[in-house]
């Protein structure tokens, strides 16, 4: 059981990470900076709970705010560029963040033990959950409340005018601006909200793995962040969830028993998925298909 809960937690965290990129992708912006915001969230929340001994909830919320604010600041310059330029600009940003934490040393001594981030040695013993006797089930419930809140909010706003505007900007910036949409505001807000979500998931991640170091926040993480929504399809939020279950659940955990062929299959399946479902595993076609199936049943 414990193991499945752990898997569900991982899925939850990655779903949030994916959703943070989902919003930005709707506006047509391909950003690999999510890894950076995730890292900021993770370290902030961990520092707050470990060094300042905050409660977890304010800690992750603070992490969320900080990451969001950072995203807001980065948004203005970054969104002046588009397409590949933006990809690389955001890679640059997240690498910068990674390097920052890689150099970050902040050791304090508590009852004889040195704790806190220790540069390249990483940041060990972020044991808030187990120190406070949280069972893995508690963690899952706690974590998924956030996941569900975020999913609901994003799903709901997808069907509001705001959601329509995001997509409109993504499809045709010129037309959008000539019906009076302020592109900068839209893009920056998308970036900021993305930052909030990424920061939150980072904060939760830190306590899930109990140990952070710069290896966890490489470009690969950023790639995964955009991979989920792309692989799942941008038609709605559940695409991202499906993609996360596909990657984290099936490819990473489910195929573990085939040993070292697993990671080979991993790449192969992504290639195939994109060839056969270029609009995502959970694209409109799938949705309508599933809908039809349901209608037949009920």
């Amino acid at each position: 059981m414990d193991f499945y809960l752990n898997l569900i937690n991982t899925i939850g965290i990655h779903t949030m990470l994916g959703l943070s990129a989902y919003l930005l992708l709707q506006t047509g912006q391909l950003s690999l900076a999510q890894a950076g915001f995730f890292a900021v969230g993770a370290y902030t929340a961990a520092i707050l709970t470990v060094i300042f001994q905050w409660n977890i909830i304010p800690a992750v919320l603070a992490a969320m705010l900080l990451a969001g604010f950072l995203a807001f600041l980065v948004g203005f310059p970054a969104l002046r560029v588009k397409g590949l330029m933006l990809v690389v600009a955001t890679i640059a940003f997240s690498e910068f963040v990674r390097m920052f934490f890689y150099n970050l040393k902040w050791r304090v001594t508590r009852d004889g033990e040195e704790i806190g981030p220790d540069g390249t040695m990483g940041f060990a013993e972020i044991r808030y959950f187990s120190d406070n006797g949280w069972s893995n089930l508690d963690v899952t419930l706690f974590l998924w409340t956030f996941v569900i809140i975020i999913m609901v909010v994003v799903w709901w706003s997808d069907n509001t005018r705001a959601g329509a505007v995001l997509r409109a900007v993504g499809e045709d910036e010129l037309a959008a601006s000539s019906v009076g949409i302020n592109l900068t505001i839209i893009k920056v807000s998308a970036m900021t909200v993305g930052g909030f979500i990424a920061g939150l998931s980072g904060g939760l991640y830190a306590h899930q793995v109990t140990s952070l170091d710069h290896h966890s926040f490489t470009v690969l993480l950023g790639t995964f962040a955009i991979a989920y929504p792309i692989l799942g399809g941008l038609s709605n939020v559940f695409g991202t969830l499906v993609a996360v279950i596909f990657i984290q659940g099936l490819l990473v955990e489910g195929l573990r028993f085939i040993g070292d062929w697993r990671m080979i299959l991993f790449g192969l399946l992504i290639v195939l998925a994109m060839n056969f479902k270029p609009l995502g595993l959970f694209d409109k076609q799938t949705v309508s298909m599933v809908k039809r199936a349901m209608r037949l049943k009920t």
Binding site: A92, V219, V271
Partner: protein
């Protein structure tokens, strides 16, 4: 004064080495730029294919203890093939307008190549035959590595050849035609798929040379090189200006030199931090790169 002179010598020397080494980045950059110019898409699997080529070249040299030049030829040929395969698997069947899917597919390709290499070699670093390892020219306080000169030279030659092919031969003209206006090109009886796959193959060829040269310059071949090389390649492509071959070359040398400068002055921990920070600023204030000869479809 004497101390000052020493520093000057050292810094010049470091930058110079960096510039020579940058020629490998430049070649990778050219590959990215070619493909981007032709399709307006990003082939993330490119550097992976390059290194894979080098591996096969190495295998050849191990099996029939072939002369070093043959190693280069082999790796060039192999990654030419891989370039073609990548086009067929990750781009050919994905709708042209769907950039995200193609990007994701090539990321999958990257994972696949990477893992296949690991599977074949257990990820162990392998000794790569160096070219003129003993050619180390000392000129007064300065020293120059013969093999790097050779690398530099090969880089220049292949660039010149490439430019000739692109701007003087019918094939090159067709490629550029497709790059600028695929529909029109099709109407003129150019088969877009053929041209694209040729572009990928040419890029692959360069990649093979680049991979082999990098391996020869380091003297060791290991899978941990792939990701850094990919990122450097992207950075170079962007600084050079998308689709600009001379841009990519200059950017490659520039990045190489800069790296060593920062390394010398600020040390390893901050080297990459400054490089990416610079890149970010560069992107924001000169969004079109050094040579903004962007040839993309939109």
């Amino acid at each position: 004064m004497d101390e000052f002179f020493f520093e000057v010598v050292e810094i010049t020397q470091s930058v110079w080495d960096g510039i020579l080494f940058g020629s490998t980045y430049a070649l990778i950059g050219i590959g990215f730029t070619l493909i981007f110019g032709a399709m307006g898409k990003l082939n993330m699997a490119y550097a992976g294919a390059a290194i894979a080529g080098a591996y096969v070249g190495l295998a050849v040299s191990m099996l029939f203890d072939a002369p070093i030049i043959l190693v280069f030829v082999a790796s060039a040929l192999v990654s030419t093939m891989m370039g073609y395969l990548i086009y067929q698997t990750c781009f050919r069947f994905i709708p042209t307008h769907n950039h995200l899917a193609a990007l994701m597919a090539s990321v999958g390709g990257l994972f696949l190549i990477d893992e296949v290499i690991v599977h074949a070699t257990r990820g162990s670093p392998l000794n790569f035959p160096a070219i003129f390892e003993d050619a180390y020219f000392e000129m007064g306080p300065f020293g120059i590595r013969g093999d790097l000169l050779f690398v530099f030279f090969i880089g220049l030659v292949s660039t010149v050849v490439l430019l000739y092919v692109l701007f003087r031969t019918r094939l090159g003209i067709a490629t550029r035609a497709v790059a600028q206006q695929d529909v029109a090109a099709q109407l003129c009886g150019i088969n877009v798929h053929n041209t694209n796959s040729i572009t990928f193959s040419i890029a692959g060829l360069l990649g093979g040379i680049a991979g082999a040269m990098t391996a020869a310059a380091v003297g060791v071949l290991s899978p941990v090189m792939i990701l850094p090389l990919t990122i450097k390649g992207l950075i170079v492509t962007v600084i050079g200006g998308l689709g600009s071959i001379p841009g990519a070359i200059i950017a490659g040398l520039f990045v190489g030199g800069l790296e060593n400068l920062f390394l010398y002055v600020r040390g390893i921990d901050e080297r990459d931090m400054y490089v990416v920070a610079l890149l970010f600023i560069f992107l924001v204030f000169r969004p079109n790169g050094l040579f903004s000869k962007t040839i993309t479809r939109d």
